[in-house]
Symmetry: C4
Subunit: 227 residues, 4 copies
C-alpha cells in the first residue's frame, strides 16, 4: 500500500544524505496521506546504503504499524504528533545536521537576519523550552512533539516550517516530504551563516521590512518569485 508515498519517503531519506545533513542513520523522513489517515516513515536504525523503498513502514494515526516488517523510527510518535496538530503539513524531517544542531544545543532560536532565511521562514526559527523529567522519562518521543506544538502557540507552522528541539536538534516540515527536505537544507544553511554573522558583528540589526518582503515575494498571495 502507498507505494508511491513509500518511494517519496525513501528518496527523501537519501536526499538528506546527498545534502550532507545526515551521518550514519541520524535522520528520518516521513510523509502522510491525509485522506487515508496513514503515514509512511523510515525504519529504525537501518543503514542508508542497505535501505529499500519497500522497507518504509506504514503507520496509522494511533501510531500502530499497518504494514512493514521493520520497526518504525523511534521518533515516530513525534512525527505523528506533528501530523495531528499541524493540519496542513504533508511531510516531516528530523536530522542532526551540524549547524542547526549546534544552535539547538546552544538553546536559542535562529534569528531571521537575512533574506535567505526570510525567503523560507517568516520569522525566527524558534527553540523549544527544555523538557522536564516527567516528559523525558515518560512518553518521551510523543512529548517531544508536544513541546514543539507548545512552542508554536501563537505561531503559524506553515509560515515557520521548522523548529529546534532544545539540546537535541532540528525538525522541519512542509506541504510534502520533498518540501520538508528543502526546509531542512535551508535551516542548516541559515544556521551556518548566522553563526558566522554574529561572530563578525554581535550587534547586527535585521531590517524588519525585508523579512516581510522576501517571505511574501515567494509565499504571499502576490508571490512573483519562481516560474
Amino acid at each position: 500500500m502507498l507505494e508511491q508515498l513509500k518511494d517519496e519517503v525513501y528518496k527523501a531519506n537519501l536526499d538528506l544524505v546527498k545534502h550532507g545533513l545526515v551521518i550514519f542513520t541520524w535522520g528520518n523522513a516521513s510523509a502522510i496521506d491525509r485522506e487515508k489517515g496513514l503515514f509512511v516513515i523510515k525504519p529504525s536504525g537501518v543503514d542508508y546504503e542497505m535501505m529499500k523503498a519497500s522497507d518504509m513502514v506504514v503507520c496509522d494515526m494511533d501510531g500502530n504499524v499497518v504494514e512493514g516488517s521493520l520497526k518504525p523510527s523511534s521518533d515516530m510518535p513525534t512525527h505523528l504528533h506533528l501530523y495531528q496538530n499541524f493540519k496542513e503539513i504533508g511531510g516531516v524531517i528530523h536530522t542532526h545536521s551540524t549547524n542547526a544542531t549546534a544552535w539547538a544545543q546552544a538553546g536559542v532560536g535562529i534569528p531571521n537576519i537575512g533574506t535567505t532565511h526570510a525567503d523560507y521562514f517568516a520569522n525566527e526559527i524558534p527553540c523549544t523550552r527544555q523538557m522536564n523529567e516527567d516528559e523525558i522519562f515518560g512518553a518521551y518521543e510523543k512529548d517531544t512533539g508536544k513541546v514543539i506544538v507548545e512552542c508554536f502557540d501563537g505561531k503559524n507552522p506553515n509560515e515557520i516550517p521548522g523548529v529546534l528541539v532544545h539540546n537535541h536538534g532540528p525538525f522541519s516540515w512542509g506541504k510534502d516530504v520533498h518540501d520538508a527536505v528543502h526546509n531542512a537544507v535551508v535551516m542548516e544553511q541559515v544556521a551556518k551563516m548566522a553563526f558566522i554573522s554574529f561572530a563578525v558583528n554581535p550587534d547586527l540589526q535585521m531590517n524588519p521590512h525585508l523579512i516581510k518582503k522576501h517571505y511574501e515575494r515567494k509565499h504571499g498571495k502576490n508571490a512573483y518569485y519562481g516560474q
Copy 2:
C-alpha cells in the same frame, strides 16, 4: 539571438554551482551585449539540473523580455540598473554564498586585509545601507540596484567589482560574465578568510602599501602578473 552570450550565461550559472556558491536556485548570472543594447539572464526558479542554454532570457534596456518563454530572474531589474550605471561592466552575478552572505547579514563591508583581496579588489568590499520601507515595498529589485549604485558614489566599480547588499547577500560583476563569476568566488573566499582572521586577532592591521602594490601588479598600467 545572442546564442553565444546565452551559452556563456548558461555556463556561468553552472560554474556557480561547481564553485560551491549556490544551493538550489539561489543565484543568477547575466551578461550584456552593449552594442545591441540587450542582456541575457537566467530564468527564474529553474533547477540547475534541468536548465538549458536555450532557457536563458533576453531582455532590452527597459527590462522587457525580447526572447525566451520563461520569466527572467526576479532580480533582473537589479542587473539592469547595474548595467545602466556601471558603463564598463559586461556581466553580473548574484549568489547567497555562505561567507559573503554572512558578512552581508552582519551589515559590514569586508575589509581589505590581505593580498588575496588586494589582487582583485582595490579596497574594502562595501556593504550598502539598509533599504527603507518605501524602497522595499516599491520597486524593490530596481531599488536594490539603486542602493548599490549609491554605495559606489565616489568609488570605482571597475576597481571594486562587488558589493554586499545589507541583510541580503553579494553581487559581483566584471568585464564579462566569466570575470564576474571569478570575482564572486574571490568574494566568498576573502569573506571566509576575514572571518577567521578577525577571530584570531581582532586588532589586526593591514599594510596599505600592500593593497596598492598587489592591485596594481595585476590591474594597473604596468601589470606584470599572469601571462
Copy 3:
C-alpha cells in the same frame, strides 16, 4: 594468522579516511582477539593507498611482534595498555581529526551538551592531564596509555568510549574496531558542533535528564533504539 581480524583492521583504517578523519598517515586502528591474547594493528607510516590487509602487524600482550614484516604503529604501546586495562574493549582508534584534536589542544573535555553526544557517550568526553617530563621522555607511548587509564579512574570506559589526550588528539574504542571507528566519527562531529554551540551561546545549559534518557534509549537494558 588472524586473517579475518587483519581484514577488519585494514578496513577500519580505510574507513577513517572515508569519514575524513585522517590526513596522510595520521591515524591508526587495532583490534584484539581476547581468546588468543593477540592484537592486530596498522603498520607505522605506510601510505593508505599502498596498504594491504596482509601488511597488518600481529602483536602479543607483551607488545612483541608475532607476525608481520613491517614495524607496528609507533602508538602500539598505547593501544596495548588500553587493551590491558579496559577489559571489554575489542578495538582502538587514534586519529588527529580536526575538531577533536582542536579540543585536545585546548586542553578541555568536550561537554555533553546534546542528544547526539548522549546517544554514544554517557558523559563528557574527558581530556587527560598534561604528561610530565619523565613520562614524555621515558616510555612515552605506554605512558600515554597510562594517563588515559588514570583519567578514567571512577569512569566507565564502556559508557564513555573515547578520550582526548592533552595537546595531542583523540583516542576512541568500542566492542570491536568497527564500533571504535563509529565512536571516532561521533567524537569529531560532537567536537565540531560543541565549538559552534559555545560560540553561539557561551552560557548554554545541558538538560541532565536528556543525557540519561538518550544514552539509555540506545545502550541501557531497556534500549529500544535501532532494529
Copy 4:
C-alpha cells in the same frame, strides 16, 4: 633539460589542488637542482587544467630564464632568494590556503600547541614583520624573500619548514618539492585547528616537553616514527 624535476614540480602543483590548498592559479611550486645551479618553477597565471609538465620554466641562480617559452611565476624571485639563503632546501611552495592565509592576515604566527604541529615544525610557524614602502614598491618579490630570511635569523629553516608572510600568506619548503607540499598541507591543517582551539580556550597551554618529544620522534637522530 631537467625533465624529471619538471615532472616533479608539475605534479606538486597538481597536488596543491588535490589537497584543496589552491583556488584558480593561487599557488606555485618550485624545485632546485643544487648541482646544476638551476631551479624549475611553475609558469605565471596558467590554468592548472591546461598546464603540462613541459610548461615548467627553468631558471638559473641569477633569476634568468634558461628554458621555457612562458614567463615564470611572478613570485620566482622569492623562491630564488629562499634557495640562496636556506642552503639545504630542495623545494618551495606558496599558496593562499584558507586558514594559513587567515593567520597571515591576522599578522601572528601559528603557535605550536599540539603534537600534529610538533611532528613537523619544531616551534611556532612565525609571521614576518610588515614590509615597508620601499620594499613593496622596489624589488617586491625579492624583498619578500628577504623579510622571510630576516624572520629566520636565529631560527633553523630545516626545523621550521614554513612561514607566514604578513598580510599575504604561507610559504613552505622541504628537502624536495614533494616534502614542501606535505609541509604546506600540515600548515593549513594546524592553522585550522589552532583557530578552533583558541576559540574553545583562549588560555590554553602547550606542554613544551611534548614539542621536543614529537619533533625528535620523527626528525631527530633517534627518530623511530614511520618505516
